[in-house]
Amino acid sequence: MRMTNRNRIKAGCFFTGLLLLLGGGICAFGNTVAISGAEIHTMDGRIWETGTILITDGKIVAVGRDVSVPEDAEIIEAGGHILYPGFIASSGLFAPGASENFESFSPDASAADRFDFYGDYIRFVRRGVTSAFVSMPADRIIPGKGVVVRLGSRGNLSSLLKEGAALNINLGREAVLPPMTDIFPAPVSIENPLVPSIKQFPSSSLGGFWLLAELFRPDPFTGELARYYQNAANSLKESLEAGLPLIVRCREAAEIRMAIRLARSVGMPLVLQGAEDVEEWIEILKENDIPVIAETDVTPNGQGHSRDFGEKEDRWSMTENIPVLIRQGIRVAIVPMDEDGLPDLFWITQYFRRYGIDAEELIRTITLNPAKIFGLEGRIGSLSPGKDADILFFKREAGAVLPVLKKVMSQGLIVYEE
């Protein structure tokens, strides 16, 4: 290469850049942690009997038996400990507030708006639940988009892992009750124009199905309806273009059929939630790789006395279906029916050991499976290079039925210690 001035400048830039990179690289080793001597369950196939995890700036850099640990790394001795990835809750609300009385469908609403990022979620974090999918409520057809958050505790803020992680769709009785019938009607005004009662529908599942089919058409709501539903249709189009998975809460076989048909017609990934009649559809689920978020009412710490009686008439549990689905190879994410059961997520999954399903498979339902469902398998749900360092430290204790959680690490920092 001729040593022209231009080339000299280019060379100069190249070497400066290289120096900066190196310098940056050296600086990056400033915050390194190594966890050594532990039994590591990576959740993506390998179990290391005695291994080391190397973490830099909150991300896992290396996992294995022979991992070279730099001199300035902080070492955490974890002999006798069993390491799992932080658990992921696939559902649960985490947000106070009355029920949504917004329109029948508002695809532009986001669960991030209802989540308190400044809240202290220690009671979940200290039991191993480090991230969660914050979903939209179950009482509208399309209430909006859910988000995945990393839970903060004790002064650490929660953070958004994925905005607009999935579109929540609800079929079933809850979703078809027309909104705003229990609020005193506001007088008609320029702001609140008189709209045809058509805006109040659907009030039956038939209406609900029709509405969904209309919405997902390429040119939805032409004509009269366009005026009232254009916003929703536009925002839905955006979500579809982004390829968001559709999480459909449904129960009966007809609703499941509707969900599958809908997803096929728009070519979107489908996730079923709480679908009790799902047994009939197992073949189709396997064919199309449709995962299932299964809500169960099994809790090891039974409900208190004030909730003795059958108040959950409309919500069925998928407890019986879970072992069947897992054995058939369907990707299942297990979640309790309400927030109070969430701290016991680990125990809830282990209940299904009685059906002959092994512990590792069950832990996958709260680690790798939800990560895959929400498209975050590159960040959470397993322990391998490139993932965030959300790690749980368990220890086997004499007399204990299951290993005991001793430490919780979130993004390379110990956020809870027993």
């Binding site: 009355a98 809850e174 090891p300 009685r354 039925v401």
Partner: protein, 456 residues
């Protein structure tokens, strides 16, 4: 004559046909006698564990438990030498057999789907915050009248090892009627109800105003006592009146033709009305049945103990979550606790296994599901308790020996020992292990699971 021969042959055959079933008996094998050999038997009888032992069952009862298996001759043997046997478990307080429709019977139209507690709502609809309206249960209501012995859901409970249950009416009312003990999988409705008055049920829990409930219960008991007094007075007065009538007829006539004594005429006393509610409460006051009071919080527990002090009933706390704070108060009054359905309390960030605390203080603790469908989760929840410091023996006791003792049925159920009903559960692993499965259920020595013979 040919006919006679035929007749005689027929008669012989006929008689033989009758004798054949008797053959086993003739050969010394009684109906249903079996000998069970097992790898390990948790007897719940003073904590005795028998390894490689055996159980002899005759006539539906356990005749003896052998430390080393020695099966008698001519008795059917059951080989469970790879399995573990525990006594049939008891759900010490449940609502099984009641359907969802029986809960919170509504007399007004259903409220809006999720009642917002907003000013607007209250203002324009004038309704109160939605309260579950409860079944108006009275002390005389018997749960045994409402439960169908062949409820198909009982099979699910049996398959989890629950063989008996104390069943009460589901309600948030102060009075919960009369609970009964049912044995699942029994042959007949009569056998199903082991005891139709197992306890008088009341509830202090679930109501923020405990003092109201305490006051109402206090009044209920007092009224029952007054009722008895009024009947006793009536009987005395009746006797006096009857004596007077007799005297009247037998007295000699006076000089003036008068009859009667120096005292004035006693009127015929009016018979007080029979009140079944009071009668039911008197059963409790006379300690014929224990008084089961649902109390969770400390103030509810204290209120229940006050009732115990005043009326000297036999108190059993149902729930008793915060009773671990006052163990001496329970011990000095010989109060037992039916704990559950929860195991761990969250108190200021600490997780307290209140069942372990109670047992450590020497209190009799049983375990319950307190719901109509929670019985299958009993062993799972006790596994959680074992995780948090309970020993397996202690956990087993809560659903066997202690439960039986609380209801005074120790001579029949709750342990594997001579004289008890032959109710036991065969497991393929240690009890309260998460992978352990039920391999067999025996009630009264009869195999109900695997499939053959299970009551439909």
């Amino acid at each position: 004559m040919k006919n006679n021969k035929c007749l005689r042959q027929a008669a012989c055959l006929f008689i033989c046909a009758f004798l054949i079933p008797a053959f086993p008996a003739l050969f010394g094998q009684e109906d249903g006698s079996i000998y069970i050999k097992a790898k390990k038997i948790y007897t719940s009888d003073g904590g005795r564990i028998v390894t490689a032992g055996g159980i002899l069952v005759e006539g539906g009862k356990i005749t003896r438990v052998d430390a080393k298996a020695r099966p008698p001759k001519n008795v059917k043997e059951l080989d469970f030498t790879k399995n573990i046997i525990i006594p049939g478990m008891m759900d010490a307080y449940s609502h099984m057999g009641f359907r969802d429709e029986d809960y919170d019977v509504r007399t007004e139209p259903p409220p809006p789907y999720r009642a917002p507690l907003t000013g607007i709502y209250l203002l324009f609809y004038g309704q109160q915050e939605r309260q579950p309206s409860s079944l108006r249960v009275e002390p005389r209501f018997k749960a045994s009248d409402a439960v169908y012995s062949r409820d198909p859901r009982f099979k699910d409970f049996l398959l989890e090892g629950i063989t008996t249950a104390a069943i009460a009416i589901p309600t948030t009312n102060l009075s919960g009627g009369v609970a009964f003990i049912g044995k699942l999988g029994s042959g007949s409705p009569e056998d199903f109800v082991m005891s139709d008055t197992a306890g008088a049920v009341f509830a202090f829990a679930g109501d923020r105003n405990v003092m109201n409930r305490y006051g109402d219960l206090h009044k209920m008991f007092r009224d029952a006592q007054d009722y008895r007094k009024s009947w006793e007075k009536y009987k005395k007065d009746l006797k006096k009146y009857q004596d007077q009538q007799i005297d009247k007829t037998s007295l000699p006539e006076g000089k003036n033709g008068e009859k009667g004594s120096e005292t004035k005429d006693i009127q015929e006393p009016e018979e007080p009305k029979k009140d079944e509610n009071h009668e039911a409460i008197l059963q409790a006051l006379d300690i014929k049945v224990p008084v089961l009071i649902r109390a969770s919080r400390e103030n509810e527990v204290q209120a229940a103990l006050k009732i115990q002090d005043e009326f000297k009933v036999r108190l059993v706390l149902v729930g008793g979550q915060e009773a671990y704070k006052v163990p001496q108060d329970l011990l000095s009054r010989k109060v037992s606790v039916i704990a559950g359905p929860d195991v761990i309390l969250n108190k200021k960030g600490k997780r307290i296994n209140y069942i372990r605390e109670l047992l450590a203080d020497g209190i009799q603790v049983a375990f319950c599901s307190s719901s109509s469908s929670g019985a299958p989760l009993l062993s799972y929840r006790l596994a959680y308790a074992v995780q948090h410091g309970l020993s397996r023996i202690q956990a087993l006791d809560t659903v066997t020996a202690h439960a039986a003792r609380i209801f005074g049925l120790s001579d029949r159920i709750g342990s594997i020992a001579a004289g008890r009903d032959a109710d036991f559960v065969v497991l393929d692993g240690e009890p309260f292990g998460l992978s352990t499965r039920v391999k067999g259920i025996y009630i009264g020595g009869r195999q109900l699971f695997p499939e053959e013979g299970i009551q439909e």
